[in-house]
Assembly symmetry: C2
Amino acid sequence: MPKKLIKQNARERILDVSEKLFANGSFASVSVRSVTATAGVNLSAVNYYFGSKQGLFQAVYIRRATQMNHERLHMLHETEQKARDEGREVTLRELISALLTPPIFWLCDVRPGFSVYIRFLARAYLEEASDMDHVLRQEVDVFDRFVPFFQQVKPDLGVEDIYWRIHFTMGVMHHTISHLHRISLLSHKACKIDTAAQTRDRLVEFCCDGF
Amino acid sequence: MPKKLIKQNARERILDVSEKLFANGSFASVSVRSVTATAGVNLSAVNYYFGSKQGLFQAVYIRRATQMNHERLHMLHETEQKARDEGREVTLRELISALLTPPIFWLCDVRPGFSVYIRFLARAYLEEASDMDHVLRQEVDVFDRFVPFFQQVKPDLGVEDIYWRIHFTMGVMHHTISHLHRISLLSHKACKIDTAAQTRDRLVEFCCDGF
DNA sequence: AACTGTTTAAAACATACGTTTAGAATGATG
DNA sequence: CATCATTCTAAACGTATGTTTTAAACAGTT
């Protein structure tokens, strides 16, 4: 009985462990054996639950992707509502904040896994073996919902420019997430690692002005 | 005689091939066998010339790193000179341009390998297995040369802010380089892939305003 | 208690990996 | 031509890989 509580679901534990390992190393560098070993399950469990290593990787992605993008859209919706209530238009800062806040906050989230997942995501973008174009697809849909608002805020920009700048914005974020520890080395320890909110604010400010 | 010309140096050809393979896949996903096979050399050539797979990876990095950073410093120096001649201070746009132009131009360089190397670099940043902190070290030195100029241009910013924004700037660039093909997917084909100069200008503009 | 579907276990499979070794080919130098 | 270090080749080594297989353990139901 307590055994069940301690061990949790084997499937879930595999996901937790591989999320962490995939966040720190490439797909190829993480072996199924290292996953099952640190998860404390049998080697064949991965193939049993997920069919293959690839299946595991995609399962790790899918588990939290929907929630992530939902939070972004929710934040966009709230922002829109608030602006309407106050009889004004949505600001650029609010838009970019809605794009960046969820991932950045997840990055420093205390809920286990959330922080790791963001780093997993940033790395997954570079994996071509795992059909990551499909992964991007879901984000593309989210961005499409943002585009009209960006056009509204910056009417002088063409759609093309909007997409480029969204692209850039995501770039800063991914890079910041992936190389968060490097800012210390880069600045000769001058920069401490900020809190989530501070990092978010720095990012938003940079991207706002860039936009 | 022509054989020598066709085959070139085996060592060099291994570097060329692995530069390309490492640019498209992670360190672990590229096998020594795939390198030697596509290079048309014997399997043991990698260990003969570079000692190990790791040694090969670092050799790929080192081959062009110095030149890359030298070009940046050279561009900074030219910029400084020009500004002095005209009796004015260096502009922010010039500084960022000196940081970004070399890699972006390499990205679209016709000289074989230069384009690939940039993508190799962007990917190498994520490899922790290959002691990439040492790789970063050389870039850090370059950035340190830029910092005083940034302070001069933006005297209201602290050193900390400067480093963060350099960090962000590099982030946009790396992301743009790594995911250049994705802008088309992201924008539903609205964005064509620009020329090097256009991409550079977009980037510089974004980063300038962000700074 | 017997049956049933699900989960776990241990072992084996076939292949791919990085590296090493021993020797042949090569090419310049005496 | 003989000598020598350098370069290349083929084969093997030992290990690690993802996956499959076969059977045991388990949990819930009748």
